[in-house]
């Protein structure tokens, strides 16, 4: 063959899902990195824009927003077998709970 491939070409006849799952076999961290990317984009992006507009940023609020934004693709990934591991789904849900604890306790008490 004229062109020798360095890897096995994915089987595209079964749809895009099969290509991604085959990619995940080679690089299992991809889904977790995608989720990490979503979290950081929302978290850092929100903080940066709010600081530019108002001078301060509500870190706990952006953390809980970013957590929910991460949970949505994580749940979509969980529909098809092979996309996401149970451990990563639990980590994302746990991150939501921790964000909620931070957010709801991060209020200013007038007394104590």
């Amino acid at each position: 063959m004229f062109l020798e491939y360095l890897y096995n070409l994915p089987n595209a006849t079964e749809g895009a899902d099969a290509i991604v799952i085959q990619l995940l076999d080679s690089f299992p961290w991809m889904v977790s990195l995608i989720l990490f990317f979503v979290f950081l984009v929302v978290f850092l992006g929100g903080i940066t824009r709010q600081k530019i507009r108002t001078g301060t940023a509500d870190y706990s609020a952006w953390c809980i927003i970013a957590s929910i934004a991460t949970l949505l693709p994580a749940l979509l990934f969980s529909i098809t077998a092979g996309f996401i591991q149970l451990d990563w789904l639990i980590i994302v849900v746990t991150l939501n709970i921790l964000s909620a604890i931070w957010f709801f306790l991060d209020r200013k008490y007038t007394e104590v």
Partner: protein
């Protein structure tokens, strides 16, 4: 009741409601879409979800009791404080139970169920109890 006590109680109730909503949403999303991965596959999440629901049910019934005791509270003429701490004691006691289960879930997932980091969790709950105690005392007696 001190405004900060209301704030802290509402915060803990909101944490409980949010946690139950998120876990319930994730579970029902998986069931509705027949997902291959559902968080109920993890036994600790299933147990905690059940415990949180039971805690909130208890909180609801006891909050009604608290409200009733507030209505029954009498203040003697010439006295500017209530005779008992009954109206303050019930709701914080139950909400600490809710908070304990909520905080214990991520704690177990991060540190495991071993006893090594147990002091961290114990200290956190003790701190919450202390804060509630100080708030109740301050409501009755003024600044501690």
């Amino acid at each position: 009741m001190a405004s900060s006590q209301i704030t802290l109680t509402v915060s803990l109730v909101m944490i409980a409601l949010f946690s139950i909503a998120i876990i319930g949403f994730a579970i029902n999303f998986g069931i509705d879409n027949d997902s291959s991965i559902i968080i109920t596959d993890d036994a600790e999440f299933s147990d905690s979800y059940t415990d949180m629901g039971a805690n909130l049910s208890t909180f609801k019934s006891d909050a009604e009791g608290t409200y009733s005791s507030i209505l029954d509270t009498t203040i003697e003429p010439g006295s500017d404080v209530a005779q008992s701490t009954g109206p303050f004691a019930i709701t914080p006691t139950n909400i600490i139970g809710v908070a304990k289960n909520i905080i214990y879930l991520p704690y177990k997932k991060i540190f495991g169920s071993g006893k090594g980091f147990g002091i961290f969790f114990t200290a956190l709950i003790a701190f919450l109890v202390l804060i509630f105690g100080l708030l109740i005392y301050k409501t009755l007696r003024g600044n501690p």
